[in-house]
Amino acid sequence: MTQQARQIALYGKGGIGKSTIASNLSVALADLGEKVFQIGCSPKIDSTAFLNGGEIVQPDILEQTRRKGDAKEHLMACIQRGYRGILCAETGGPEPAVGCAGYGVKLALDLLREHDLIAELGATFVIYDVIGDVVCGGFAQPMRSGYAREIYLVTSGEMLSLYSANNICGAVRAMSEEGADVQVGGIINNMRGVVQERELVEEFGRMVGAPVLAYIPRSPIVQEAEGEGGTVLEKRPDSPQAEVYRELARALLEARETVLPTPVELEEILALIRRHRAQ
């Protein structure tokens, strides 16, 4: 390998649709010639399932290392080739009530790096799909360690989702000030049908100083495809929704500028939502 893989991370609130976006994006990038590696970084381990016929990719890295150890061959057994040859892995997490989920994720990523698996498998584009419900120090670990220099925020116009996105901006800023090499590439608006959602998220983007890179409309096609165990790009490649993900992939390949965001106060988010609700 002469060239380092480009590595991005999608952060956002649990349940917001990060994994759906990540998986469709992975397929679209593969169609554009990238060798993609998608790594699910959530204890829920369901990030890559729709690249793998709807089945959870197993074993996850943390469970495997707990059971068998962290030798290279055991790690290789955690990496599956899914749809279009996309490389898939799940970090896993600690058992509930034990340990720190974020440190667990970091441990798994450290192992991948230690064995140089991203380069060895020839990946050119790595997507980390990271839960961002609580941005305590733990979940910020993957940012701190320089795994992904580009963070993309997945949000809708809902309050809790914007709150999480704002927290992630705060984490990026804090970490960058501590010397970590991390910035925000942009916001992906995964729309939920909130009133004036485009304008709302656009304005949020201006407030924190990050551009909105794409609008993903809500579509029943997503559920249909996932009900059949696959991504929209696999199951409904001719749909308008598939084109939305292809556009996102192209926009991502072109977007190389990143910004240092400025988080706002919760009151400002509440006021923003109230303004748009009143209109």
């Binding site: 649990g14 509930p96 009530a97 034990v98 305590c136 733990g138 705060g170 970490m175």
Partner: protein, 281 residues
């Protein structure tokens, strides 16, 4: 004065914990309890409808320097019908552990004997339960979760989170912590057969459903005025629902060590009742 009764409300973010907690606190105050609601979520919006908007937090005071009894007293708000409210706050995003931060705030309340000094008979902790890592389990480990009510709805991802919380309670109980579940509160989203879905999941886990709370537009209307339903619409059916919940919580002293089930068990329950809907219509 003895120790106040301590009840913790857990649930996924956005499920309606704070609204349920605030209405429960308001209704308990009408039953003669001196209630203090402690928001244990970095979002610090737990007591907003009781005490008129977002309030400064204990941890922000810690950040700013000296913490004294006077400072802590200054953070306690007396809201609707004498209900007391305070917010723990959380660490700055990207640093520290949110769960440990919450525990620090709770310890500060104990250190200054706040519950005794304010004559609190009922302390209600409104706790974020999205991520049940070791951090968020800290308050459970420290005896703040002898009676846990988990707020849920009939959606599978919410029930998965309920299950994670149940698994944490069980594991910590096995390790010797004094924690148990008193019941589930079904804060309904309007899913078909939602009562049956939640009843069945609860039965499998070995815990009761203490109340089914119907969806009502009055909740939002009251929230826009920064009030609880109990305050804004005392004569409404919805206020009656919260008063019933308060009486049940007061009467219910039984607790259970839950049996967590897998997502493999939750998903079929949810989809079975969802597919039942298709046949019905």
């Amino acid at each position: 004065m003895g120790e106040p009764r301590k009840v913790a409300i857990y649930g996924k973010g956005g499920i309606g914990k704070s609204i349920t907690s605030s209405n429960l606190s308001a209704a308990l105050s009408h039953l003669g309890e001196r209630v203090m609601q402690v928001g244990c979520d970095p979002k610090r919006d737990s007591i907003a409808t009781l005490c008129g908007g977002l309030q400064p937090t204990i941890l922000s005071a810690v950040d700013q320097g000296e913490v004294s009894e006077e400072v802590v007293r200054g953070l306690i708000r007396e809201g609707y019908h004498g209900v007391l409210g305070v917010e723990s706050g959380g660490p700055k995003p990207g640093s520290g552990c949110a769960g440990r931060g919450v525990l620090t705030a709770l310890r500060i309340l104990e250190e200054y004997d706040i519950f005794q000094k304010y004559g609190v008979t009922f302390a209600l902790f409104d706790v974020l339960g999205d991520v049940v890592c070791g951090g968020f389990a800290q308050p459970m480990r420290a005896g703040y979760a002898r009676e846990v009510y988990i707020v849920t709805c009939g959606e599978s991802l919410t029930l998965l989170q309920v299950n994670n919380i149940a698994a944490s309670v069980r594991r910590l109980h096995e390790q010797g912590a004094d924690c148990a579940v008193a019941g589930l509160i079904n804060n309904m989203r309007g899913i078909e057969n939602e009562e049956r879905i939640v009843e069945e999941v609860a039965e499998r886990m070995g815990v009761p459903v203490i109340a089914h709370i119907p969806r009502s537009p009055l909740v939002q209307e009251a929230e826009m005025e920064a009030k609880t339903v109990v305050e804004a619409f005392p004569d409404s059916e919805q206020a009656g629902v919260y008063r019933t919940l308060a009486r049940r919580v007061l009467d219910n002293r039984a607790t259970y060590v839950p049996n967590p089930i897998g997502f493999e068990e939750i998903r079929p329950i949810v989809s079975r009742y969802a597919s039942g809907r298709k046949h019905d219509s």
